[in-house]
């Protein structure tokens, strides 16, 4: 139900109310703390658990991944492509490991599924690029990790 509010004559005249409003905006302009983060110099503080750009963890220069195919299976965006191969010592390893970043939704399921602690999501969030690149194995093997 529409209830008509009782107002005093002064507030009905609006002039005083408008003046009050102007004071509020002026107060905000002069004294309020500005919330802008001036990006390249200042940065937003993200949580430690932020899910950003992927990398594959390596131990002694060899990737931890054994191409078990758990991550491409779990990935909801189906953006991980792995071709498995065998090393001379009969160990399985990924010959090709590609992530299509444009399809990835950064859900972190791959990281959760990995039994070898190989695929990881780092804190890096600046991933703009000028081409529709697919991250290949060399790129992913750069240790940009923090966890």
């Amino acid at each position: 139900m529409l209830v008509k509010q009782k107002k005093s004559i002064l507030s009905e005249l609006y002039v005083l109310e408008i003046f009050k409003g102007l004071c509020i905006t002026m107060k905000n302009m002069l004294f309020a703390k500005k919330v802008t983060i001036q990006y390249p110099e200042e940065r937003r503080k993200y949580s430690e658990r932020f899910r950003g750009q992927h990398y594959i963890k390596a131990t002694n220069g060899v990737e931890n991944c054994t191409a078990c195919m758990l991550c491409p299976t779990v990935c909801p965006a189906e953006c991980i492509h792995i071709e498995a191969g065998e090393r001379p010592d009969k160990e399985k390893y990924p010959v090709k490991f590609e992530i299509d970043a444009l399809r990835c939704c950064f859900c972190g399921m791959c990281e959760e599924a990995c039994p070898k602690d190989a695929i990881k999501l780092s804190n890096i969030y600046e991933m703009s690029m000028t081409r529709r690149e697919v991250w290949d194995k060399d790129f992913l093997l750069e240790q940009r990790g923090n966890k």
């Binding site: 002039v15 408008i18 409003g21 102007l22 509020i24 905006t25 002026m26 905000n28 302009m29 309020a32 703390k33 500005k34 919330v35 802008t36 001036q38």
Partner: protein, 362 residues
């Protein structure tokens, strides 16, 4: 007219035209920074000192953009419309005095006003109402529903508020019994009340407070500024009459709007805030300097131009300030305010003024 006067006149015209051209980019910057600061942001502050060159960058961008003319518009009027709104916005400033005059002797007088027409304020009103044709034309020629709506709104709004604007002005004209803006500004130098050491000048706002409120509201409506920016109402009709415009033609429409604001501010300052009458400390400083001869005249005019500029800048800022304070009116509220509040109030104001004049109060 001597040669010096002619050169002086041409110089005046050139300088004022330059100011009017640069008004839009500077105001765009003021508007953006002001808006940002009031919303607790910083606004464009990267290009140049304090982001001042942002507008220059915008201007360059406007010029180098492709000059697209949509296929569905009526080409001739579409191209003509920005010009039709730009030209009146330049013309109206011509009659506003920004300084008093200098007597060079021998009947030579330098007036710091481009044209001291004997129709004065009426010229401004007449030319300013031509500006609405540009808006209607742009909306109609765009052949788009939103643009059409915007221009329809604009025309009805302008007609509604021109009435109360004119009527509120009549009060001022009655008090100063002149339509020449130079005379009105000069007459405001008298003292209205002497309260001990403080002399209250005979400014329009002290004689016609109600008239000032009505006139100011009407100026806001006439210049399509918030809270009366229904012709552009972004949230309702996208961008209103300039929806189909791009590149420099859009910039010209914006320029016309900002120039109208400048004229409106100039009128507000001239009619109600003493025009070029010196502001508080300047007048005292001038009388303390005790100059004589030619120097005195030039210093006086410099002080007057400074005072006028400060007043105009205040109103320009006030436009921005109000824009980021008040929300937009609904259309029926706008019409209600215009016809049911502003028009009767301006008639009341007229009546009160007439009574006061006949009893010799003012």
């Amino acid at each position: 007219m001597s040669l010096f006067q002619i050169i002086f006149m041409i110089g005046q015209i050139l300088i004022l035209t330059l100011i009017l051209i640069h008004n839009a980019p500077i105001m765009a910057w003021v508007e953006r920074r002001g808006a940002a600061l009031m919303q607790n942001r910083l606004g464009p502050n990267r290009i140049g000192p304090l982001g001042l060159f942002q507008s220059a960058a915008d201007g360059i961008k406007f010029i180098f953009k492709e000059d697209q003319i949509p296929g569905h518009v009526s080409k001739f009027y579409y191209v003509l419309a920005p010009l039709v709104s730009l030209v009146p916005s330049f013309l109206t400033f011509a009659v506003i005095p920004y300084g008093s005059q200098i007597d060079l002797g021998g009947g030579q007088i330098l007036k710091f006003q481009i044209a001291d027409l004997n129709v004065g304020i009426l010229f401004t009103l007449a030319i300013a109402s031509l500006g609405v044709y540009g808006i209607i034309m742009s909306g109609w020629a765009s052949n788009s529903k939103y643009a059409m709506m915007g221009s329809l709104r604009s025309s009805s709004q302008m007609i509604s508020y021109e009435l109360s604007m004119g009527l509120s002005l009549v009060g001022i004209l009655m008090v100063f019994s002149s339509v020449k803006l130079g005379d009105i500004a000069a007459a405001q130098g008298q003292t209205l009340l002497q309260l001990g050491p403080i002399a209250l000048p005979k400014w329009g706002i002290f004689i016609q407070p109600l008239g000032f409120l009505i006139f100011m509201t009407s100026v806001f409506a006439e210049t399509n500024r918030l809270p009366f920016d229904l012709p552009e109402g972004e949230s309702e009709i996208v961008a209103g009459y300039h929806l189909e415009y791009g590149s420099m033609k859009f910039a010209i429409l914006q320029m016309a709007e900002y120039n109208n604001m400048l004229t409106g501010s100039g009128l507000l300052a001239t009619l109600y805030f003493g025009g070029w009458q010196m502001l508080f400390p300047l007048g005292q400083i001038y009388s303390h300097l005790a100059l004589s001869g030619m120097t005195a005249d030039w210093v006086r005019v410099a002080f007057e131009i400074g005072s006028f500029t400060v007043k105009v800048l205040f109103f320009m800022w006030f436009f921005v300030w109000v824009r980021w304070t008040l929300p937009r009116f609904r259309y029926d509220q706008l019409m209600d305010l215009g016809w049911k509040v502003m028009l009767p109030l301006s008639l009341v104001n007229l009546f009160i003024t007439a009574v006061m004049i006949s009893y010799g109060v003012i």
